[in-house]
Structures are given as structure tokens and as C-alpha cells.
Amino acid sequence: MQDDRSDALNRLACEAARGDHDALEALLNESRTRLQRYFRSRARTPDDAEDLVQETLLRVANYLPNTQLNAPYEHWLYRIAANCLATYYSRAYRHAETPFTQLENPDGVLDLQQESFEASLLERIADEQTQAQLYAIVQQVCSDAERRVLWLHAQHERLEDIAQMLGMNAATVRSHLMRGRAKVLAYLVQHRRDWLGGDDAVQHAIERLTRDGEPLSDAERRALYEPKPNQSDLRRAALKLAKYLRIE
């Protein structure tokens, strides 16, 4: 987790953002070492690495005074570095042979300020108690991989991005998502039916399923009401009912 040096950098960044030139200079010096380490193994040549360091520092110096950081300074620094690196390897750079420092700002550093809007929206729509209880249920019934995939997907991450983040292929991510959903729904149907509107809501969902021509099988129907149901039948039933149920 964040250490004292990171805290010190955050303080320097705040002072620099307020116009303190000494703080900015100290901040850039501290950043340089980190950037040199980052680019050294990634750029094609040492000269290119040095250019990338300069370019990143230039952007930091340009943007910091106008930016209210909503992430730790080091995160912000490395995001800019990553953007510079991607630009450096981009087709435009390779083919047009434009000097790197003369490229326009193609990655929109200011866009960095927009991150996490979706997540903050999620925070607003859930009451904390429900969140905590659902969190506990997911931890209880899902595997680590299912839990992570469910979490990320619930925060509107794309399956491809989840796959990249977790080092899986997209088919595996999808499979974990389906299994995780089925397990959580089955748990809610079995143990927290009140969240779904109680027996009446479940019965109503069963009737709607039947009307839509997708009735539950006898085994699935039994699983909904038995005290110790067959989990496979219960999950299958819960998945079928899911589109007609809402967490209340």
C-alpha cells in the first residue's frame, strides 16, 4: 500500500499545483528517477528512453497547475508515462517520423480526470448495508475468480478488459461470470428471498416464465421450495427466474 514516500510526493504535488515552483522542481526530480526506471526496459534505445522521460515530465509540469488530482500523484505520473509510451510506439510516430516532443497531446491528459465516474455512480445507488451483505454473500458462495469477475463486471468493465486484468481469456471470464451469477442468485433465492420480494415475487416470476413458454422443469421447481435442494437444479431455476426478479 501507499508508503511515506508516496505521501510526501502527494504533498509536493499539492504544493506544486498551488503554484509553488520549488515544490514542482523537487517533484520533477523525484519523478525523473521513477520514469527512467520505467522507460529503460521499454523504449528501443537509451536516447528514446530519455526523450520519453523528458516528454512525461513536460506534461506533468504543464498540466499539474491546472489539475486537481483525484488519484495519488504516482498513479497520475505513471498513467501519463504509459500514454507517452503507447504514443511512442504508435503507427504515427513510427511512420511519420515526427519528433516525439512535437506530437500534439494525443492521449488527452485531461481525460484522466474523468475516470471512475461509473464507479462513483454505483456508490450512490446502493445503500451501504445492502452492499456489505451482498459482498459477504459473494465471498461466501463464489470462488476467487468468480468474485473478481462479478465485481469488475458489476462496475461496467468490459469482458475484454477483465480478461486482460485477470490474465484469462474472454471465454473463461464469461464462464466465471455465468457461474458466479448463478451461485449468488441461487443463494438469494434459497436464503434471502425477502430481498427478491418474497415467495410472492418468486411465484409471480415462475408464472411469467410459464407464460413466456420457458416453464421450469419439475426438478427446478422442487429445488425452489426444498430445504436442501439440488444446487444444480436451484442454480438453473434461479438463472431462468433472474430476468423477472429484482433486488429490493
Binding site: 505513471y78 468474485r147 444444480s232
Partner: protein, 306 residues
Amino acid sequence: MRANLAVMAYPSDATDEKHLSAAQILELVERGQRCARYDEYIDHITVCPVCRETYKQLLQAEAVVREARRPRVAPLRWVAPLAAAAAVLALVFIGRALLLPTAPETLALRQQDGVWYERATRLPEWASAAAALFANPPDAPTRSDAAPAQRAVQLLAPNPANRALESLTPEFRWQAVSDAVRYRARLERADTGEPVPLVVEGTQARLAPNTTLQAGARYRLTIEALAAGEVAGEGLTAVYEFRTLTPDEQARLRWARANRQNAPRTCVAMFYQLGCYADAQETLNLLPADDPLAQRWRKVLEAHLR
């Protein structure tokens, strides 16, 4: 469900100001699941949008770097000089082979009076290409530095390390997947997509009665493990590709299997040519570990078997 699950996206105890340090995120980017504290870091990233955004951007930059470093096809202007250089090298090699009929006996592979020998074993005429190939190992295929993604369903037989299917009526067997209640398997021609009927029984599949594969064709096998409640397309999937051998190649494979003790070098190259990488590696183990050519071949085969 997505909308409903959205409400649980953010456990309340993760909303404080604690973040991973940039160094920790970089370690995760560079080492992935080999990172010593992988579970701790990835669990934090799962619930922390700030760290996740940094992680994603660093991962994307890493992917760009990897892509840019992947060897590319040489530009057209280099094709002619490279082809000329290759032709000269080939001529030199062939010339050497022709002009050195009485190579020293110490060489394991030698040509005498137009006939190739490996130690005391006289090689068939069609094995000369393999003998020549052994002395010039191909380049190892370049792969990503990242750890290889493990297939979701592991094929046990035929050995997936071999790209060649020996039998035209193969039986496929795979490792059971926990949670799976049934399996689907699909076999099709890789070039035309024409399906081949399969009979699936548990973790095995065989061709439908009166069905045989075509010799010398590429086939793609897709195995899907379905858990309870999953329908086709929702399960864990693994894809394997094979090539069936022609009768001529079958004969060579039989010869290589019968002569690997007497002519291991030629057989390594022959197995390689046939796509039987597991056999090639097994045969390579018969050679001295410090043999420079054996070491080069080991790298080539490891890259294929990875």
C-alpha cells in the same frame, strides 16, 4: 442481473483512501500471477477504481510494447537481398555436403558416396533432408513474454504437444473439469469448417461409426465443459488443432519411431518436420546434454511445446 449486481460492486470497507503504490501496480503488471502478492493486489484492484484505472493503462501500454516488439515480416525492399543471401547460404551448404563425401568418422552425421549415415546407420534417401535440417536448427518461434494462458480444458490424448494426428480414427480424451456436468466436442476441418460427426461420452469423444478423417488435412477440435445451468456456448472452452499425416508421412513416422535409438539426430529433425514435438523432445534426451546442436534444438522444441 447486471443492474442488480451493480449495487454490490463496492464493499464499503474499500472506499477509504488506501491505494496500492505505483510500484506495487507495476509489479503486478510485470509479473502477473507470478507476483508474490497477486491475490492481495488483484483483490484491491477489483474494488478500487483508482488503482484499477492505473493498472489498466499500464497494462495497455505493456501490450503496445509487446506488439511493437513482435518480429514483423521484412519490408518488401529487403526481400530480394534476403532471398539472394539465403540462396548463397543454401548453395554453400549443399556444396559442402557434396564436396565432403569423406567427412571425419567422428561426425555423428556424415555423407559418404552420396549416402547419408548417422553413426553406423545408413539413412534412407528421403531422410537426408531431416539429416541436413538437424545441422541447421530452425529459429525458435517467438512468443509473448507473458506466462502462457492455460487451456480451460486439458486434452490428454492424443498428446496435444504433437500437432500431428497419427490415426485417421482418433479417440479424444480430456481431463474432467470441476463443476462440469457435461461436455460438448466439435471436430471440423480447419480450412473449410466442414464438421466431422463425433460421439461424446463423458470426457471422451470418438468419430461416429463409418467416419474417418482425411489424410494430410488440418482439423480443429473444440471441447466445451458445461456446468449445471449453462447452455452451449457458455461453458469453458478449449481449442486444439491437428494435422493428419499422409501415408508417406505415416511411413516416415514409423521409421523414426523404430530408429530413434540408432539415429537420434535424424529422428529429432524428422519428428519435428512431422509436427511430433513431444517425440522429438523425448528423442533429444538421448543426445549428450552438452551437444551445442542439441541445446539449440531443445530451445526450438521448448518454444513449440510451451
